[in-house]
């Protein structure tokens, strides 16, 4: 059994969100929704995190930051795009400075649409992400057994 699915620690990054989605991400961890039931902890440190929650679209200023956080996270890791801005660029997609959704910068595993994304949708997305985490964890184990890098 993979334990990755039992303790998904998250890191939250606000790319260029209007803050609507950020408030919902934090609400997910509050008593009402209690993400800790599933072992979710908000770490704030990419080196400890398993799931990367990105809100808002990617632009020229933050694309490097998004990539850097992703690179600092250790395998197995999963990216969840929270809110329609993070999925596709949303209502800001036609802005001159917006590149688009988070998948323009890093590989995204789960898309959670909504404007703003509901805490229920975020929990759903995390639970979905956890399944991906498990698969990746198993693949990593198999790789280790083969002795590959």
């Amino acid at each position: 059994m993979a334990f990755a699915s039992k303790s998904p620690w998250v890191i939250h990054y606000d790319a260029s969100s209007c803050n609507g989605c950020d408030i919902e991400v934090l609400a997910t961890l509050c008593p009402g929704f209690d993400g800790e039931r599933f072992g979710v902890i908000n770490t704030g440190n990419p080196k400890h995190a398993d799931i990367f929650l990105v809100t808002g679209s990617v632009n020229h200023q933050n694309i490097d930051v998004v990539k850097e956080i992703y690179d600092q996270m250790l395998e197995p890791k999963v990216v969840v795009a929270c809110g329609i801005c993070a999925c596709t660029g949303g209502i800001f997609r036609d802005c001159y400075n917006v590149i688009g959704g988070v998948d323009k910068a890093i590989p995204v595993d789960v898309y959670a649409p909504g404007c703003a994304v509901r805490p229920e949708a975020i929990i759903d997305a995390i639970v979905e992400g956890v399944a991906v985490l498990d698969q990746k964890s198993k693949a990593l184990k198999a790789q280790k057994k083969r002795g590959g890098e």
């Binding site: 620690w9 008593p31 080196k47 250790l74």
Partner: protein, 287 residues
């Protein structure tokens, strides 16, 4: 010597189990105090297993070695204590473990980890005087530094060293890194400059740190329990009850206070050490 060896082996095997359950209990109770359901009681175990499964990466080779040393010294300190060995030795070895942990953070040269390491150093400075005075009070109350001396007593040392016990209770919050004294590393979500002392520790290294905390917590509760043991089998039950109550008190404090500044922590801990430890030792000297 043999008893310490047996104590160390037993502690090495049993303490993580107890420590893990204690930590899970802590998280569930904390969640209930905040009106949440909280994680399963085995959550800390899942966390550690997950961390062990993660990719191994470290900023340098030394960090992992220092953390391993910290873990080994924590096991040794617990072994000395629960094997009935020298209390003073136990205190020194557990301090060595803390120092190794601090050096591990410094070795990464990350500014965030260094802030955590500075603060951890302050925590050590804050609690160390009281810990030493506690050991001296223990010696004066029992006539020996050996922990197993309590088994031959007619009355537990809490009767004569209750002031030192209160002092220990005060610095226990610092030692367990609970709010308001969680300066170097907070357990709570997002109130930290990145992650304090453990910023650069990841995956299996972080798992070792977690396990080390389990050992430490059991050892510190052992120190609390030591005040209530005397040469009677009833004392064991009493000790267990006291340990659970003290831990509940710590959780209550943790959930009700915001973090203080380091100045207040250092000053108050030293004043408490001087008053509680000093007065207690003076009184025992005249008895």
């Amino acid at each position: 010597m043999i008893s310490i060896l047996i104590g160390t082996i037993a502690f090495a095997i049993l303490a993580p189990v107890v420590g893990c359950l204690l930590s899970g209990f802590d998280r569930v109770v904390s969640a209930r105090m905040q009106g949440r359901v909280g994680p399963p009681i085995l959550q800390p175990y899942y966390d550690v297993r997950k961390l062990l499964e993660k990719e191994h990466a470290s900023v340098n080779a030394a960090e992992g070695v220092y953390v391993t040393c910290a873990l080994v010294f924590a096991v040794l300190a617990g072994g000395i204590f629960f094997g009935g060995g020298n209390l003073l030795m136990c205190v020194f070895v557990i301090t060595l473990s803390s120092l190794m942990f601090i050096v591990a953070a410094y070795s990464t040269r990350s500014p965030y980890a260094e802030i955590g390491a500075h603060r951890e150093t302050l925590q050590v400075m804050a609690y160390e005087p009281m810990v030493l005075l506690m050991a001296i009070a223990f010696f004066m109350a029992t006539g020996s530094f050996d922990v197993n001396a309590v088994l031959g007593l007619d009355a537990p040392i809490i009767t004569t060293a209750w002031l030192a016990f209160l002092g220990l209770l005060y610095i226990l919050t610092i030692k367990l890194r609970k709010s308001p004294f969680d300066l170097s590393m907070s357990h709570h979500a997002h109130q930290e400059i990145v992650r304090g002392i453990t910023t650069e520790m990841s995956g299996p290294t972080l798992a070792k740190v977690e396990i080390m905390h389990w050992y430490e917590n059991v050892l510190f509760l052992g120190w609390i329990g030591m005040f209530f043991v005397w040469g009677s089998p009833i004392s064991i039950a009493l000790t267990l009850v006291v340990m659970v109550l003290v831990y509940l008190l710590e959780i209550l404090i943790d959930n009700n206070f915001a973090r203080v500044k380091w100045q207040l922590m250092l000053k108050s801990a030293w004043v408490v050490a001087l008053l509680a430890g000093g007065v207690n030792i003076a009184v025992l000297a005249f008895l």
